[in-house]
């Protein structure tokens, strides 16, 4: 009885398998890569829509939608419409891998997503294998650059560019002794360590201390004491705004009188509200935003009108990512991965929020477009364009 039962189960399963294999998506169905030639050109965007960073997702999606709509309104690219497919990466590696594979399956031709570096890293080989160029609007950790992958392009400023901008401003302010404070996340530490290297070069200001704090605490007085013991006249915080606001407040309460500067992760009005009066006059290193860019008022207005809220973090990069993808496909005259990559490498002077675009051999921005902002009555305003 046993043998025949096995045989029955096996043959039934085999029959089901073979019948459905005819549908074309199975192993025997052959390669049916969707969409070269006709129909819309599909762009894929992997962003956090759930999980810890879910708040960022809508900003980036709206901006990309806006760009797609504008391009389609002008007749699309190569006579074809653009279509945006969004998948959730939940800022988590496993969800991101499933999401990236989903986008590949849906026939995406260029990827224009990527916010969390940890979730973006494992998707690189997936898009690479499928010969899909990636324009990464937000994620900017050094690990993305260090792999020197041909299909990966970063349009957010990098840590070293931010460090260079910070160094320029520190020198300009005539500071002598600089305390660098980071929160031990890869992004924050990267900026702090790179700034320290620039400070360590002979001449100019010196690095007084490199201090790491533990995120999400409510009291940083131990760190503050360490910093103040070195008597710096400039403090640079490279982490995020929650801790940044507290640190600024506690620095001022402890009687620190020198200058304070924060990195782009802290550029949020929440920083000013947490720090209160102590936040006034705090400097920040930040890429160009619609707020600080002349001539962007129209863009801000049309975004606000369409979505009922003002643009937020990385809206401009997400918007530029889609426009850049369209430009590259247009220049390439095809959606073929290799041709689009060549077109991206060849782009020179394409106007974006961060300025005219030209990629370095590392596929990062040749100029990060970092500026110095200052907190004035609770809001960040342009202090120095560093030009």
């Amino acid at each position: 009885m046993g043998k025949s039962r096995i045989a029955a189960v096996m043959s039934l399963a085999a029959a089901v398998g073979l019948l459905t294999a005819g549908c074309g998506q199975g192993l025997l169905g052959g390669d049916s890569q969707a969409g070269d030639g006709k129909g819309p050109i599909v762009l894929g965007m992997l962003i956090p829509q759930s999980g810890s960073e879910a708040a960022i997702g809508p900003y980036m999606k709206n901006a990309a939608d806006l760009a797609v709509e504008e391009i389609n309104g002008k007749g699309g690219v190569l006579g074809r419409k653009l279509e945006l497919k969004v998948a959730d990466d939940a800022c988590d590696a496993q969800t991101a891998v499933a999401g990236a594979n989903k986008l590949v399956t849906e026939g995406v031709q260029v990827s224009v997503g990527g916010y969390c570096s940890g979730a973006t890293l494992p998707t690189l080989p997936i898009f690479g294998k499928a010969n899909i160029p990636m324009i990464i609007p937000a994620a900017n950790s050094q690990e993305l650059v260090d792999q020197h992958l041909k299909h990966v392009f970063l349009i957010n400023g990098t840590g070293s560019q931010q460090a260079t901008a910070a160094m320029a401003w520190i020198t300009k302010r005539g500071a002598k002794s600089v305390a660098l404070v980071h929160d031990n996340t890869s992004y924050s530490k990267d900026i702090a360590v790179r700034t320290q290297k620039l400070l360590d070069e002979p001449g100019g200001p010196e690095a007084a201390i490199l201090e790491a704090v533990t995120p999400k605490e409510s009291d940083y007085s131990a760190n503050i004491n360490n910093i103040l013991a070195k008597k710096p006249d400039f403090v640079y915080w490279t982490g995020y705004f929650q801790e940044g606001g507290l640190i600024i407040r506690q620095l001022r309460q402890s009687g620190y009188k020198g200058a304070i500067m924060v990195g782009d992760g802290s550029v949020s009005e929440k920083l000013a509200s947490i720090a209160g009066d102590a936040g006034e006059g705090v400097f920040a290193t930040m890429t160009q935003t619609p707020d600080t860019l002349q001539g962007a008022e129209g863009w801000v207005a049309s975004y606000t009108k369409k979505f009922g809220s003002a643009p937020g973090p990385y809206t401009n990069q997400a918007y530029d990512g889609v426009r850049l993808a369209a430009e590259a496909i247009k220049n390439a005259g095809a959606t073929d991965g290799a041709k689009v990559i060549a077109a991206l490498e060849g782009i020179d002077g394409f106007q974006m929020f961060s300025g005219p675009l030209k990629f370095t051999p590392d596929h990062t921005l040749s100029a990060g477009g970092f500026q110095i902002l200052v907190v004035k009555s609770g809001k960040f305003a342009l202090q120095d364009a560093l030009k």
Partner: protein, 319 residues
């Protein structure tokens, strides 16, 4: 073969339980898994199916600890992380192929099992659960702060076991099948019977001459090795691992798979793991409401079937 309770059930229920008790159910499941790529082999489907298979392995490992031995472990993902990081570090730093890291992973996870298990297994029930929860967090935060584990951004560029996703899927299915069968056989062995005895009444077991501490440690170590090997597959599949993948939520999900499927039941745990890992993907289109819908469905299942989807039936005519 059938439990006495089943004979009193209505005819339909009797037929259903006979089907569930069938020894061929496992084989049918394996055949189904092997044939699935012939139905759908898109990269997305393969990635989801591979994740599900790895999750089955995790759940069958935890089933030995929670289901067979009755030790509530809320930090099981610690072993998953130890396995993934050990193979990840060895393969990227020393350039070893992933398969070559397996012996080291086994040794390291056994050590981790002893280190975590030896002090905690002197505790019982709730206290044990809280201490394991602590250890789970310790492993994740350690990985977050060490340089060798790449800190918060983790390790990337881990080689895969196979270049093609289809081959990797089949390899995973074979390894996971062996692991599930192994766990099930272990559950029926002399050791497995001792585990069940400890679960039912630890004092009685001790009185009958079962060395309960050793027996519990054995369950813990077995669970650790299963978790660690699942970690190797996980590292191979994702090619990049970071501390964010080894949160308490992951431990809770594995435990949920075990409870949902039916504690101590091998087919139940396999089904539970598949449900838990596939449901969020099926609900992907709900975006923000994904985990809300997921939670509601889980509550409904637990209300309708509190004993689990495919509960364990004792082969000895007792209970």
């Amino acid at each position: 073969m059938t439990a006495p309770g089943a004979t009193r059930a209505p005819a339909l229920g009797r037929a259903a339980s006979r089907l569930l008790d069938s020894r061929w159910a496992g084989l049918a499941g394996l055949v189904l898994a092997l044939l699935a790529p012939f139905v759908i082999a898109t990269p997305y489907a393969l990635s989801v199916m591979t994740s599900a298979a790895i999750f089955v392995m995790l759940a069958s490992g935890l089933n030995m600890v929670v289901g067979f031995c009755g030790l509530l472990d809320l930090g099981y993902v610690a072993f998953f992380a130890v396995g993934a990081y050990t193979s990840g570090v060895l393969s990227t730093r020393l350039g070893l192929p992933l398969l070559a890291t397996v012996p080291v992973v086994i040794v390291v996870t056994v050590i981790a099992g002893v280190v975590i298990g030896a002090p905690t297994l002197r505790l019982r029930s709730d206290y044990l659960a809280i201490v394991t929860l602590g250890f789970g967090e310790i492993i994740r935060i350690t990985a977050n702060n060490l340089d060798v584990t790449g800190g918060p951004s983790g390790i990337y560029g881990i080689p895969s076991l196979a270049t093609s996703p289809v081959v990797f899927y089949y390899l995973t299915v074979v390894i996971v099948s062996v692991a599930v069968i192994g766990a099930s056989r272990l559950g029926r062995s002399r050791l497995g019977r001792a585990w069940r005895f400890v679960r039912e009444d630890e004092d009685a077991a001790e009185a009958m001459g079962v060395h309960t501490y050793k027996i519990k440690l054995a369950a813990y170590i077995a669970g650790a090795v299963w978790g660690g090997l699942a970690g190797v597959l996980f590292a191979g599949q994702l090619s990049a691992i970071s501390p964010g993948s080894f949160t308490f939520l992951q431990s809770a999900l594995v435990l949920m798979a075990v409870v949902l499927g039916g504690m101590g039941s091998t087919p139940g745990v396999v089904v539970g793991a598949i449900v838990i890992s596939l449901l969020p993907e099926v609900l992907r289109d709900f975006a923000g409401y994904r985990f809300f819908a997921f939670g509601v469905l889980l509550i409904i299942v637990m209300l309708v079937r509190p004993q689990g989807l495919w509960p364990h039936r004792s082969r000895e005519a007792s209970s």
